[in-house]
Symmetry: C2
Subunit: 411 residues, 2 copies
C-alpha cells in the first residue's frame, strides 16, 4: 500500500481546495510581485519598486554595531527572548517620541513587531471580525489591504485628495454604518505621496471620537520629510483610540524586519497574546544589533542623508513631469516619503499605458492594486523616486511622457 | 475640545472590549510565562523552561559567519527580500532532507518562516475555519494550541501513550466526524518526550489516507536523538498530504527565529500569500548569516555536541527519578529532545505539587496548559532536562521527590 500511495496518479488527484480556509479565498494576489518581475528585465528604468535606496544603508555602522553586540552580548543574544521586545529598544522608541513629538509613551505600551507588516496582521487579527466595516484610503496601502483581507472585513474606501481623505464622505459613511476602525497613512502616503492637513486630521479624529471607532495610524515614512513642518499626529491628539505603527525599515534597513506598535495598554495586552501565537518574538539578535546602532550613532544624521537624496530625486521627478508629460496629467507633490501619484487624462487606462511603457523600457505600478472595488480600468499610477538617480529619472519620465502621447493617439 | 479629550476620566471610560475580534476570546493565556516568572527567582532549580542549553550555542562560529556575510554580502543583505526565503538556504534544507532521510523535496516546496511558531500560525490561517475538527495530541504542544486557537477550531484531543497516539480512538473519532487535519510531534514530543513507533506512524497515516485529512508533522526535536534509530516520517510516507514543519531553533540558535514549512506545491502557494500578508519575509540578514554558518561548519558535528550533553542529562534525570521519586510515579524515557513527562500517583494534583515544590526551590510545568479540555486537576507534569547540569538535576529531583511525599501525606 505504501508504494501504491506514491503513485503519481493518486498524488495528482488529491484536491487541496477543500482544505483551504474560507478566509484565504478573498486575498488579493500579489499584483506588484508580477509587475516587479517585468520591471527588473533588460535595462528597464523602474519607478515600480517600493524599496529604500540601498546606497544609503549604514552598512559600516551596522557592522560595527554587530561586532559590539558580539563583544558585549554573550550567549544570551542567541536565546529565546520575551514577546514584547527588547526593553532598551522600546525605551529608545518611547524616548524618541518624547524628544521629537513631545508624546509621553510608556515602553509597556510598545510592542516590537517583525516589520510593520506584522503590526498590520496583528491589528487585523485582534480587531477585525468578518464583515466589520474598515475605513481605508482610496487609493490605499496594498500591504494593509492584504493583511486585513485575511480577516474578511467590509472595506469602506474613502477618496483621498491633496490634503487627506474626504471627511464629508467619511462622516456620511460613519452615519449610516458602524465603523470598527479607520486605517490611514497620514504622512507621505503610499501610494499617493499626499499628507493630511492639520484640519483634516482634526476632522477625522473628531469623527472617530463621536462615532467611537479606532484610528490605526501607520507612519513608515513620517521621518522622511524633506519639505515643510511636521504636523500633529492622531496618537498625540487621541492616544486612547489610536494604534500607532512604526518601522525602522525606511530609516535604518528593511531586511531586519523591525517595526513596532504603540497602543492603549488593554489593546497592547491583546496584541501581545496574538504576537506570541504568531512567532513568539521578533528576532532578538537583530533587535540587539539595531539597539546598539541607535545608541552608538545619531539616527537623525542618517535620516538627513536619506531625505537629502530623496528630496533631490523628488524635485527632479516633479521638474521632469512638468517638462515631459503631456497636458492633462495631474500629479502630487510630496513633501516626503518615496512615492508620487499620477492621474492620467480622463479615459486613459494605466494598465494600457504600462504595456506601452515597458516597450519603451520604463516601469511603474498601475493604480489597480491600491483599490478594493475590483474594477480593472484606472487612470492612476504610482512612481517611486527613492531608488533612481536624477539622470535615470530624466530619461525614465521622458519615456513615460512618450508612452502617454502614444496612448492618447490610440484612444 | 482637544484638551478635553486628554481628560483622564474619558480615557478610562473608553471600553476596548467592544473592539476586540471574536477570535481573541478563546486564546489560552500564557500559563507558562507566569510559571517561568516564579521559576527564575531565588536559587530555584528550574525544570520548567523549554529552552535549548545556551552553553552549547556556536557563538564563535556565528560571529565568524556574520563577519563573512558582511564581507561578501554587500548592501543587499539589508534590503527587502522575497517572501519564500533565501534560495540557497532552501536548497540547503532540501539537500539535507535528501542526505539524511532520502526524501526528495524541491526548494520551491519550502517556505522559510519566522520560527516554526509562525509555521503553525500560517497553517492555522490557511487551513482552519471556525469549528473545523483538528486532532491534537493529549497532552499537546502549547504553541500549536495557542496558534490554532486563534482560528477557533474544535480540538479533538487523542490520548498519547508510550508509542504514540491512540489509533483506536483516532479511528473512531474520524469515523464520526470530518477531520480537517491532525497535528503531531512524532519525535520526542513536547511535552511528553515520547516518540511514535513505526506501527503507529503507519496506522495514523493510513487513517489520514482513508479519511482524507492532512497531517501536520512538527519536527523541532527530530535531530536531537541520543538513543536508538531514526524512524520513518509522515512526509516520507505521504508527501501529498503532509505539511512538515522544521526549525533551526534547537540545532543552531532560537533568537534568529528561523524555521521552515515543507508542503505540496498548492499548499505552499497559499502559505506564501499568508506569509506575505503576515510579515513580507523573514529577517533576510539573519537568513544569510545562518546559511553562511551552515555552509562553513558541519551542523551534524554541532548536533552531536548537543545530543551528548542532553543525553547525559536525560540519563541522570531518569536515574534520579528512579532513586528519589516515590512508588507510583510513572515517567517517560525519551530517546531525544528536551523533555520528560511524569504522571503522579492517582489523585495527586500537579498544581498542588507545584506550590509545594516551589517552597523547596524546584520548578516544573504542571500538565494543565497542555490539555484543551479545560479541567484544572491533572496529575501530570513536564520536566526539562536540556538546561540543568547533572548536579542540579540530582538536587532538583531529590527536592521534587520530597515535595511529592509531602503531597501524598496531605491527601
Amino acid at each position: 500500500m505504501y508504494q501504491n500511495l506514491h503513485n503519481n496518479l493518486l498524488f495528482k488527484e488529491l484536491k487541496y481546495s477543500k482544505f483551504f480556509s474560507d478566509r484565504m479565498h478573498g486575498i488579493p494576489r500579489s499584483f506588484i510581485r508580477e509587475i516587479l518581475k517585468v520591471a527588473i528585465c533588460n535595462d528597464i528604468i523602474s519607478f515600480a519598486g517600493g524599496l529604500p535606496n540601498r546606497d544609503i544603508f549604514p552598512v559600516k555602522e551596522l557592522q560595527e554595531s554587530t561586532q559590539k553586540v558580539f563583544a558585549i552580548g554573550g550567549k544570551d543574544i542567541f536565546q529565546y527572548s520575551n514577546s514584547e521586545g527588547y526593553l532598551p529598544l522600546r525605551e529608545y522608541i518611547a524616548n524618541r517620541y518624547y524628544d521629537k513629538l513631545n508624546i509621553k509613551i510608556s515602553p509597556d505600551q510598545i510592542l516590537i513587531t517583525s516589520g510593520s507588516q506584522q503590526g498590520l496582521d496583528l491589528v487585523g487579527k485582534v480587531l477585525i471580525d468578518q464583515s466589520d466595516n474598515i475605513v481605508i484610503e482610496k487609493p490605499g496601502y496594498l500591504g494593509a489591504i492584504q493583511a486585513f483581507s485575511v480577516y474578511k472585513p467590509e472595506f469602506v474606501p474613502i477618496p483621498l485628495y491633496e490634503n487627506g481623505i474626504d471627511t464629508f464622505v467619511l462622516r456620511s459613511e460613519s452615519d449610516c454604518r458602524d465603523i470598527k476602525l479607520l486605517y490611514a497613512v497620514p504622512d507621505f502616503q503610499n501610494p499617493s505621496g499626499i499628507s493630511y492637513s492639520e484640519t483634516i486630521r482634526n476632522e477625522v479624529a473628531d469623527i472617530a471620537e463621536s462615532k467611537n471607532f479606532l484610528l490605526v495610524e501607520d507612519t513608515p515614512y513620517s521621518d522622511l520629510r524633506f519639505n515643510g513642518q511636521s504636523t500633529n499626529n492622531f496618537y498625540k491628539m487621541y492616544p486612547h483610540r489610536t494604534i500607532l505603527l512604526g518601522t525602522f525599515s525606511k530609516t535604518v534597513v528593511p531586511s531586519f524586519r523591525m517595526g513596532w506598535i504603540v497602543a492603549p495598554q488593554e489593546i497592547i495586552d491583546k496584541l501581545l497574546i496574538a504576537k506570541q501565537a504568531a512567532d513568539l518574538h521578533t528576532n532578538y539578535f537583530t533587535q540587539r544589533v539595531l539597539y546598539q546602532y541607535l545608541t552608538d550613532y545619531n539616527i537623525d544624521d542618517h535620516i538627513s542623508k536619506i531625505t537629502e537624496v530623496y528630496g533631490r530625486q523628488r524635485n527632479k521627478m516633479v521638474e521632469c513631469i512638468q517638462e515631459y508629460l503631456p497636458d492633462g496629467c495631474d500629479y502630487t507633490k510630496p513633501d516626503g516619503g518615496m512615492f508620487l501619484w499620477i492621474t492620467l487624462p480622463e479615459g486613459l487606462s494605466s494598465m494600457d499605458l504600462f504595456n506601452l511603457a515597458i516597450k519603451r523600457k520604463v516601469a511603474f505600478v498601475p493604480g489597480n492594486p491600491f483599490y478594493t472595488d475590483g474594477r480593472d480600468r484606472y487612470s492612476t499610477l504610482r512612481l517611486n523616486f527613492s531608488c533612481s538617480n536624477e539622470a535615470a529619472i530624466e530619461t525614465g519620465i521622458k519615456r513615460l511622457g512618450e508612452a502617454i502621447m502614444e496612448l492618447k493617439q490610440q484612444v
